[in-house]
């Protein structure tokens, strides 16, 4: 590359390129976005891998995530501590999975994590109810919510345990023609 940048070493950029779906330019742009969120917290020099985490409240303030009803769950699924504090590694990981080039299986795994509110590796009725309420901004009546959740589980549940395991979810996702394009945030 022509321009000299001092944020990352070349080795680090290569590692990021291999581990995500971004090019060097995009990774540098991501870093500037990350830095914008909290200029006094995030160092400009990442060569010695500083341990800097941004809290959930700052991340969900980004314009790409601000209006998303699942923003909290998205950030929590990608954070290691489960509380939504993202380091730069996790930040890049999040947008890499949500980018256009991530394969369907990877997106399905993370979508499952996002919709699993109680983190028990199953999508039970309460998870679906919360998802539905977030989707429709609680405009459906409770009976309608109940009916829709029941029908959704009925449609997708293959092993008959009244909740969706990852296998059921993935099987349903393979039949969704536009899952890849809707589960995509452009940054």
């Amino acid at each position: 590359m022509g321009n000299k940048q001092t944020i990352f070493t070349d080795e680090q950029l290569d590692a990021y390129q291999d581990c995500t779906f971004f090019t060097r330019k995009e990774i540098l742009r991501l870093h500037s976005r990350y830095h914008e969120l909290a200029p006094h917290l995030v160092p400009m020099d990442y060569t010695n891998e500083p341990d800097c985490k941004l809290p959930l409240a700052l991340i969900v303030d980004m314009p790409e995530l601000k209006e998303n009803p699942f923003r909290n769950r998205i950030v929590e699924s990608f954070s290691e501590d489960g509380m939504g504090n993202l380091s730069f590694n996790e930040f890049v990981d999040m947008f890499s999975v949500l980018s256009e080039m991530a394969p369907r299986e990877l997106k399905a795994i993370y979508a499952f994590k996002i919709y699993d509110y109680n983190v028990d590796n199953y999508l039970c009725k309460e998870d679906l109810e919360k998802t539905l309420n977030k989707l429709t901004k609680e405009e459906l009546t409770p009976e309608e919510v109940e009916l829709v959740c029941e029908k959704a589980i009925e449609e997708a549940d293959l092993d008959g345990d009244n909740k969706l395991s990852y296998a059921d979810f993935e099987n349903m996702i393979t039949r969704a023609p536009d899952f890849l394009s809707t589960f995509h945030i452009r940054i």
Binding site: A15, D18, C19, K25, E26, P63, E67, N68, P69, F70, E80, N89, E90, V92, D93, S96, L98, M101, A102, P103, E105, I109, A111, Y115, N121, Y122, T131, L132, L135, T136, K137, E139, L140, E144, L147, V148, C149, A152, E155, L158, D159, G160, S165, Y166, A167, F169, E170, N171, M172, R175, A176, P177, D178, F179, T182, F183, H184, I185, R186, I187
Partner: protein, 723 residues
């Protein structure tokens, strides 16, 4: 290990289908990471298989794994350290694979740049280009506001524009075909000075009269009238059939053997044009059908689809978000409404059912009556227009355009009335949509058929037999009947375009301005325009059918249609972005793609019937055109056939004979049976696998219950037994 960890292991090992062996392996002492690395290749099958097939060890595609970033980086370091220990070819292969992948993505981006209207289609559908993100920082906020303003119009609207693009390319390629084989040779031969041969048939000189050139002084506004109705200076030009000559060139100079038969070229080009369009439509239908089959139809599993894949994560801006939420709410309401209606219908008494069904039958007859009334109006208008075609001036122009006006009015009013009827019929929502579409399709295409039928009646003088005795067709009114038919098609195409532009300028823009700047109850109730996909697509199908019907008589019609569709694309795009609000009711694009192609195919069949009839049944004009000396247009083929060399003739006879066609038919039946059997086997294996999944889940539950049962019996023995 606790039950929780077991369940976690069972639910989350890489492949997602936990078996007993995997869960056992999972609980071994070896590090969790290494077992997960071992399992990961199962989940990223597509890319990992690429690596495996290349013969190297199953190297890991790190970006497809589910680890946190730190673990990925560590794994990468491990991989890098392993590389020098491997055979040198291994790392070279990895680099080559990476290079190929990068090259492919670059080529794809480059080709995308050249795809017609790619950016516009992406913007309409709401999906964003990958390389558009490389814009400099200062431009990005403005681009984002544009996106939030326009919102996401959805897949349905995008499918309309994709369909339009397909038709533009189809028309342009067909024009190239026609230009190459008919137009350019005609121009060349005419410029060289080859005169047309007069008809050798034994007919009176009455039939040979053809005088399209205007007499005397031409008033200047006549120019515009002629431009709009295809008469006057436009009639005797390359635009219409009548100008082409029946020149057959055979030169046998020393060394070169050039021969060109214009009538044969004309006919065969028309045949190949139809065949080419058919192949394009079928290929496209195949692609759409493949998508529809893999997604199993959009009706099934609608609730879970909406809940899990309904939200578009790329939605930006509060307005677009609210709209999306209302959209999802509306879709759920539609499904819930259908459930309610089903329950209601099941609970109706016999008396109610009888009244409902009789009401539906009555409304069906009312709709049929409306449609038949439109047909009668079109027939009457066509006859009237043909009788009064020689009236000069603006009134004459009105009379010539009368059929087009009546067709357009009918296509506008009758669907509106049918919508009102549908309110009384109370079908479930999905059935209402289908019924309305079917009615609109029948109306559009059959009205065109009625127009052509009326024209044919006049040309073959069904009403007044005496006019046709001399020349086998109505030579008094139609000295060159092919040109007249071509003119009708030309007028229909032109009128369609003019109406679209007029609607845009006179109705849609003012409507938006009124709604935006003058707020009262009425304007709010009317609201901004919605882009209604089905009626727009039917308009496109109608326009394309007109072009197919008229291509034999007006060879430049595909070119005119290309220009018309390009103008239409930009007009519709402008109206979409400025005048329309994003629709609350989204249109399902996957199943409708097949439906629109099927309707297009139906239009193609209609045009084919017209072509076959003109070529094989009606006598060509004596006074004009490439077929003036033939009894039927088709006769040129047997005549040229007899000039073929002996070998080719025998070969073609053999292909047409029974000795070849019956075995061919038998073999194609065998192939068809094979494919049907294959398809049914795949369907059965899918059902079987699904049942197996169910069984595996039940087995898992049974085993978990057994483990729980055994636990209180002997807590010390547990570890030993399970290991």
């Amino acid at each position: 290990m606790t039950i929780e960890q077991q369940r976690q292991g069972l639910a989350f090992s890489g492949s997602g289908h936990p078996t007993d062996q995997e869960s056992l392996r999972f609980r071994r002492v070896s590090s969790r990471m290494s077992t997960q690395i071992y399992h990961e290749p199962n989940s990223s099958t597509s890319l990992a298989q690429e690596e495996e097939q290349s013969g190297s060890e199953p190297t890991l595609e790190l970006r497809n794994t589910v680890f946190p970033m730190a673990l990925k980086k560590a794994a990468r370091q491990v991989q890098q350290m392993q590389v020098p220990a491997q055979f040198n070819g291994g790392s070279w292969k990895q680099k080559r694979i990476k290079f190929v992948r990068q090259f492919k993505s670059n080529v794809r981006e480059f080709l995308y740049f050249f795809s017609l209207w790619g950016k516009t289609l992406q913007k309409i559908g709401g999906r964003n280009l990958v390389y558009a993100s490389k814009q400099p920082q200062r431009l990005r906020p403005r681009w984002q506001t544009l996106l939030s303003l326009t919102g996401n119009f959805g897949g349905g609207v995008q499918s309309y524009f994709i369909f339009l693009r397909f038709l533009v390319i189809l028309n342009f390629v067909s024009f190239l075909l026609i230009a190459g084989f008919v137009l350019i040779p005609s121009i060349v031969f005419r410029s060289v000075g080859i005169k047309p041969e007069s008809s050798k048939a034994d007919v009176s000189s009455e039939c040979l009269k053809y005088d399209p050139n205007p007499q005397g002084l031409v008033v200047f506004y006549e120019f515009f009238l002629d431009l709009l109705s295809g008469t006057g200076f436009m009639e005797y030009s390359y635009l219409f059939y009548g100008y082409y000559n029946n020149s057959v060139i055979v030169t046998s100079l020393v060394g070169s053997h050039f021969s060109y038969n214009i009538p044969l070229a004309y006919l065969l080009t028309a045949v190949f044009y139809f065949a080419f369009c058919l192949i394009c439509i079928i290929v496209r239908m195949g692609k759409a059908a493949r998508v529809a089959v893999t997604t199993g139809g959009s009706d099934v599993r609608s609730y879970s689809m909406i809940v899990f894949t309904g939200w578009d994560y790329g939605c930006l801006g509060s307005k677009a978000t609210k709209l999306k939420q209302r959209n999802i709410y509306y879709r759920l309401q539609v499904d819930l409404e259908e459930e309610r209606l089903k329950k209601h219908a099941a609970s109706l008494t016999l008396c109610n059912k009888v009244t409902l069904h009789s009401l539906r039958v009555l409304m069906f007859f009312v709709a049929v009556g409306l449609i038949v009334a439109t047909f009668l109006a079109i027939a009457r208008a066509t006859t009237f227009s043909q009788e009064n075609s020689h009236v000069p001036g603006i009134l004459g122009l009105f009379y010539t355009y009368l059929p087009s006006i009546v067709i357009t009015l009918g296509n506008f009013l009758v669907p509106l009335l049918c919508d009102q009827i549908a309110l009384l019929e109370k079908y479930p929502p999905s059935a209402t949509v289908v019924v309305a579409l079917l009615r609109a399709v029948v109306l559009r295409l059959v009205s065109l058929g009625i127009l052509l039928f009326t024209l044919w009646k006049q040309i073959m003088c069904h009403d007044s037999r005496d006019k046709c005795n001399l020349c086998h067709y109505n030579h008094e009114d139609y000295q060159c009947w092919e040109t007249s038919v071509g003119q009708e098609m030309y007028k229909l195409t032109l009128f369609d375009l003019l109406v679209s532009i007029a609607l845009l300028v006179l109705v849609e823009f003012p409507r938006r301005m009124v709604v935006d700047h003058w707020s009262c109850k009425l304007t709010q109730w009317v609201g901004r325009q919605e882009f209604v996909v089905p009626s727009n697509v039917l308009g496109l199908v109608y326009g394309q059918t007109v072009v197919w019907t008229g291509a034999l008589f007006c060879p430049l019609l595909p070119l005119i249609n290309t220009v018309k569709f390009v103008i239409l694309f930009y007009c519709k795009k402008i109206t979409l972005f400025y005048n329309c609000r994003p629709a609350l009711r989204t249109f399902r694009s996957t199943s409708s793609a097949i439906f629109f192609l099927a309707v297009l195919l139906f239009g193609w069949i209609l045009a084919l019937v017209v072509m076959i009839y003109s070529v094989a049944v009606i006598h060509p004009s004596f006074a004009c055109g490439p077929f003036r000396s033939f009894f039927r247009m088709w006769k040129i083929v047997p005549e040229s056939f007899s000039t073929l060399p002996e070998g080719a003739r025998d070969f073609l006879f053999f292909i047409g004979s029974q000795a070849f066609s019956i075995p061919l038919f038998a073999i194609s039946c065998v192939f068809m049976c094979y494919f049907i059997a294959l398809a049914s086997i795949y369907g059965k294996s899918v059902a079987m696998l699904r049942a197996q999944l169910k069984l595996a889940g039940q087995d898992k539950q049974f085993l978990v219950k057994q483990i729980e049962k055994m636990k209180p019996l002997s807590p010390q023995h547990n570890e030993g037994e399970q290991d």
